[in-house]
Amino acid sequence: MNFDDTPQEAEFRAKAREWIAANAPHEYADELKKASLGRVQLKHANILEVAKVWQKKKADAGWAVPHWPKDYGGRGASPIERVIWQQEEGVFGKLGALFIIGQGMCGPTMMAYASEEHKRHYLPPLASGEKVWCQLFSEPAGGSDVAGLRTRAEKDGDDWVINGQKIWTSGAHYSDYGILITRTDPTVPKHKGLTMFFLDMKSPGVEIKPIKQANGQSEFNEVYFTDVRIPDHQRLGAVGDGWNVSLTTLMNERMAIGAGVATGFPELFDFVSNLTLEDGPAIDNPAVRSRLATYAVRASGLRYTSFRSISALSRGERPGPENSIGKLVAGAMTQEVATYALDLQGAAGVLNSPEDAEVAGKFQAMLLRSPATRVEGGTDEILRNIIAERVLGLPGDIRVDKDVPFNKIPTRGR
């Protein structure tokens, strides 16, 4: 057991640190530090542009997606070096939010299933942030029940013709490409008739409608497909094997989201350290201390759990279902932390604007965004099912639609 860098890791860290010191957009460091979950914005600049410039700069120097192979835009870094990079990148890592879906989920799926030619063509610009990708999985009829999706793909010569609707697609409105799961055979049980593709989001027949979210922002969209044509060479995996392909995406999603998901604890600790209550400094109050301690050990527990996964990964073990822990714990925690921070602010906790609210409204933004964390990328309930079934070996839920051809499963329209 060793928490220190090996000489090789120390060298990697020093190189990363030096490069970041010389190249990061330090002028935004303060603002990024204050930005919270659900409100990463810059006052005097367009965050998308700043993010893209930073990503491109990293790519040119070989620091973009460090753990990817060189040929696809990475530098072949080890899992531990990847963590070291994240530690050193610090607040500038927040600029990467725009690329998480592409680099964390679409990229690995492409790497596993696309042709070599496609990989060399599509992955480097994904790594460098020049092209943004989205994940077209969820539908009105299939969220948790992803395999219940109804978007159709029908073969027509060398193309497939797509008709249907996706929903909750993050970033579709600024994405260049997407990975798309469709139904190619409705006469077989639901998991068997699915096929995966990737497509150009500018293809004729793709229509994107932003959805206004509960927190007032608009990260996700409805996406409609009307006779959209996708060439067969953009198919990922075999016809009818889309479910297995999607599992690669979902597993990577849990890793990508789970490892980096914020808990809100450092923000809360900072806030409480500087807060004075009626009877003195908040941090001297025993009730406050007890709450803080409970959150502190949850946050450190998650941190060291991810270090344990990384250690396993660097021994060549594959990321397993136990990684579902990250988002399950952190999602619920940000919600609790935000609620508690507002409670500490008393009546003023209701205020929301960066000017009037404590710490620029960080916790208010967190409160309003946190319900989404418990839903996106698998709800708390689905994650608990995964842990119970795949880690602890408990029986699967009773599936009344098992072995029933998809077109014979009762449906309820929305």
Binding site: N2, F3, V391
Partner: protein, 375 residues
């Protein structure tokens, strides 16, 4: 960075598990609970023969000198098996105090005896209700003579010697507290066994009447030594709690697969599945916090005080959570004397207060984090 035990350490863990599965089945725990003996002497001897009592004791003092990571993996198995022996008092508290502050003569006398299973030691700190604090110590020491009462003292009625925290002055400073090493066969020592919620480990009241005692370490540093000992023990006990959490989770999981209700395995009901998933989550967070504590302990890192408090809190919460929900998964069966669920429930709640309460450690953690941030 490598955040796992080495293959050798894992092998030691397997060895300890095999040994304890054979020598410490629930039947052995029950024999102690039923009062047939104050602890399992044969198991104690076996642990000594296996070299488990002396893994963290240097060779110069009769141990194997393997180290604290090795002790952590053994601790986990001790907790898993609910071993009814004075392991934590002797090995985590008394031996660690000797290693930290004992004179060479004291170490020569007691450490080999501990490693060989010939001596049981303990720490006599508490004096009734309350948490570790210099203010709470009333037992006096003047001219090396102790007067006062300690209660509860873990394994106090079976220990051969104790490290005793005593007051030497009343200036209100930490330096008022000094540590003494007392041979419990000395004249004026009276130990009385107390009943507790977890009879698998002995608890006692010890009264000292004009007992002559030798100082342990520098007199003015008693409290500081003590808090280092408690930190070290917090990590080690944390591993016992992690072992207990895992076993309680496993028992719950196995029962959920076995028991049928409404024509289905109860483990197929989501409410039950999700309860077990949450047990897994808390056990995993505790394990990870303890691994960090183990690293800090084995390297004597500056982070140890903070890491120890985090390990302690997390492991306490996890063991209590897993042991109570293990009973819930077992339904009525879980509440019978016959099923082993209550053994874990008892241990989890006894061990939760044994080094000071959860709120005490919460307070310690935040204070330590605050000081680090201020620095």
């Amino acid at each position: 960075m490598n955040f796992d035990f080495s293959d050798d350490q894992k092998q030691l863990r397997d060895e300890a598990r095999r040994f304890l599965t054979e020598k410490c089945p629930p039947k052995a725990v029950r024999a102690v609970i039923d009062g047939q003996a104050p602890y399992d002497r044969e198991l104690w001897k076996g642990l000594a023969d296996m070299g488990f009592l002396g893994v963290a004791i240097p060779e110069a003092y009769g141990g194997s000198g393997a180290g604290h990571l090795e002790l952590c993996v053994i601790a986990e198995e001790m907790g898993r098996a609910l071993a009814p022996v004075p392991f934590s008092s002797t090995v985590y508290l008394a031996a660690e105090a000797l290693l930290l502050a004992g004179s060479d003569a004291q170490k020569q006398k007691w450490l080999p005896a501990i490693a060989q299973g010939h001596a049981v030691g303990t720490l006599a700190l508490f004096e009734g209700t309350g948490n570790p604090s210099p203010k709470a110590i009333k037992l006096t020491a003047s001219n090396g003579v102790l007067n006062g009462t300690k209660k509860p003292v873990a394994d106090g009625a079976i220990a051969d010697f104790a490290i005793v925290a005593a007051r030497t002055a009343s200036t209100g400073r930490d330096s008022d507290i000094a540590l003494f090493l007392v041979d419990l066969t000395s004249e004026g020592v009276e130990a009385k066994a107390l009943t507790s919620i977890d009879p698998s480990r002995n608890q006692a009241e010890i009264t000292f009447t004009n007992v002559k005692a030798e100082p342990l370490g520098n007199a003015a540093e008693g409290w500081s030594i003590l808090s280092q000992v408690l930190d070290r023990a917090a990590v080690l006990v944390g591993f016992e709690q992690v072992g207990g959490s895992d076993r309680a989770l496993e028992m719950g999981r196995d029962y959920a697969l076995d028991r049928i209700a409404f024509g289905r395995q109860i483990g197929s009901f989501q409410a039950v599945k999700h309860m077990l998933a949450d047990m897994y989550v808390s056990a995993t967070l505790a394990r990870s916090n303890c691994y960090y504590g183990a690293w800090a302990l084995s390297t004597n890192a500056a982070e140890l005080p903070e890491a120890a408090a985090a390990a302690r809190i997390s492991a306490t919460q996890a063991f209590q959570h897993c042991s109570k929900n293990n009973i819930q998964v077992h339904g009525g069966m879980g509440f019978t004397w016959e099923f082993d669920c209550h053994l874990y429930y008892r241990r989890s709640n006894a061990i939760a207060v044994g080094l000071g309460s959860l709120s005490y450690w919460e307070d310690q953690l935040i204070e330590r984090m605050r000081q680090k941030n201020a620095a």
